[in-house]
Amino acid sequence: MDLELAMQSFLQESAELLEEMESILLDAEADSITAEQLGALFRSMHTIKGSAGLFGLDEIVRFTHQAENLLDQLRDGHLQLDAELSGVLLRSHDHVKAQLAAVAAGQAIPAGEQDNILADIAALLPPPAGSLPPAEPSSQAEPAADSDWLLSLRFGPEVLRNGMDPASFVRYLATLGQIQAIASCSSALPADESFDAERNYLRLEMQFRGAVDEAQLASVFEFASEGSQFIISPRAQLASHLQQALQAGDAAEQQSCRDIWQQWGLWPSTADNAVAAPTLVTTAPDTRPALPAGADHKTGRSSESKFIKVEAGKLDSLINLVGELVIAGAAANLLARSHGSSPLLESTVVMAGLIEQIRSHTLSMRMVPIGETFSRFPRVVRDVGQELGKSIKLEISGAETELDKSMVDKLADPLTHLVRNAIDHGIEDVQQRRAIGKPEQGHVWLNAYHESGSVVIEVADDGGGLDPQRILAKALQRGIISSDALLSEQDIYRLIFAAGFSTAERISNLSGRGVGLDVVQKNIEALRGTVEIDSEIGLGTTFRLRLPLTLAIIDGFLVEVGSSTFVIPLETVVECMELPVTPGDHGRPERLQLRGEILPLLYLRQFLELEGQPGRRQNVVVIQTGSNRVGLVVDALQGEFQTVIKPLGSLFRHLKAISGSTILGNGAVALILDVLALIQHATQQEASRYALEQEPYPAAGSRQPHNNDTSSGK
């Protein structure tokens, strides 16, 4: 797990939430604040609290919990937003902002006016009923001046398997100060077949200098897995540190650590045992230190140059420009061709190749593997599981699935909600699981893959599944549906996305406050995605998020209708064929029989109301999503083409059948068809037709024109 990355995204997310909170507070007049705004206020504190908990930022958790309580009262109408309350909330906002800034700068969280604000909040809150006791006075020290530290880090054997890398901790430490010397002790690493590649054998010894205090250093390692042991002492306590550090582990480990400290000249040369003395003599005088003095600067620089933070907007405009460049290049190529100058032609071809490379590189800059987001979940699962007393195993697959960076960022929140939800509501208590013969350890799966031009992310659990009866009862009680509503199972599952719906009976720190699933759906819809639920009582629930690949490169299949060109995502194309001619139906059968199966047809020309007359021969492109197949009737097939999806402007957002546009090599614009929507439309149309008429269908198996006039109305 890359701590820095996770931390960065937390800080960024929180900053956005705080910004939203501030603007709502500043905009809203006392009596005109909407329920949605109140919800957003509450959510901002709630989310920051949750994420801060993951990073062990207890001070922030404690403070935001109080602020959240206040907002909860406000949301429920027990309090009115007046100038005083608004002031307290703004001060809370400022305080959280200051806390986060301190975290970002790697300083101690300032005590500031936390106590004053907490006192004010407490005064506004009705007497607490079972809520957390007010925060104790903060005892954080002022940021210390540079000081020297000795660290002995014995990472547990399971850290690697738990998705953490000791190197990440070292890199993070390097941001807090200066690593003056570091050495790995690998004496525990076996040389024979018993070596386990996923077990950690490394122990790190380190000298560190930085403006930090002991609590801060300790908190860096706070969420390394169990079985780890960290000994951290100020340089001044060298003797006791070495004593402690050298006591840990077996004899070989002690010896190799002693060697390290001797090399650094910190272990007294008056060696108290005979074994150490000769090594000291032979190695001490001219061995280079484990880490050359300048090396930490180098590592610092190299990690700096590895990533450059770029404003997403700049990247977007770069991609747009490259798109224009592709077109201009193609035009230059055409011109060169018409002039017949072969040197000119040659140079435009070289340029076209380069432009193509630039384009693919630029596009790949926006694509990141979803693993970055997934990597925060082992921690979430462990913490939530521990808090609820459940043993949970998280299994992640498809972490390498790539999708647009902007989407990855926006997915973190809904995914966290879903995972927490799965553990809190999905997976049963240990006793319950034992009683019904399930393994005590619950499973949560996170799975991502590409399918039919979209990205699918699944969050699954092997818990109790959704109980339609219970959901229905709850929805009735909350007034979300009326008592005479007739709902299918899917519709009932969908109710859990309704705002304010929660089946949790008790309020935990995590869920049950009615925040969550409605936000999940809103977030996913904002990404033009869908949420599906599969559930089986007693077996578990799967939430399936289906997201479009905005801005991704897809392999497209070009088809022509009249003078327009359209792109169909290639993954959805099953096969192509010529449309059999049936004279009696003016060449327009409504469906085909394809190898014994009925294939509804959708005439793109008519469906999109394009002008012009179809040619004598038309083609059918069979497309499929899930188990539904539809034949699209088009004029001509142009073949495959790698397509850059450009999202449509906001004016066209509501269009159902078009998911985006692309620019072809010759500069023409082609629209990308939204296959899912087309198939839905065609199957619905077919279903309604099927209800009206029941007739035999012309077979498409043979390319022969049909003589029998079966499909005309009788």
Partner: protein, 96 residues
């Protein structure tokens, strides 16, 4: 001629087990091994541990092991964690 194995770009926990098996097999079959590290773009503790293991196992089985052409990523990582045995093994090659 030592048997040459060129490591792929990514050497992290995801590849560590497979790499270990591959190297263990190579170690059994060849008395001389050369590991080309020039293609490695990403390495983590798990990947580095496999190299440490190889280094140690080769010594034990008196196999002649050469770690050659370390990429910047490998060098940086060795420096980051202060992996002295690997550092020395690479220095030995550089010096010759």
């Amino acid at each position: 001629m030592p048997h040459l194995i060129t490591l792929a770009a990514e050497q992290t926990i995801y590849q560590a087990q497979a790499l270990h098996q591959q190297l263990a097999a190579a170690l059994r079959e060849h008395p001389q091994l050369e590991i080309d590290l020039s293609q490695v773009e990403e390495i983590d503790s798990a990947g580095a541990q496999v190299l440490l293991w190889l280094h140690r196992a080769a010594q034990q089985q008196s196999c002649q092991l050469t770690l050659s052409h370390p990429s910047p990523a490998v060098r940086d990582f060795i420096r980051l964690l202060g992996l002295q045995p690997l550092h020395n093994a690479l220095e030995a090659v550089d010096g010759s």
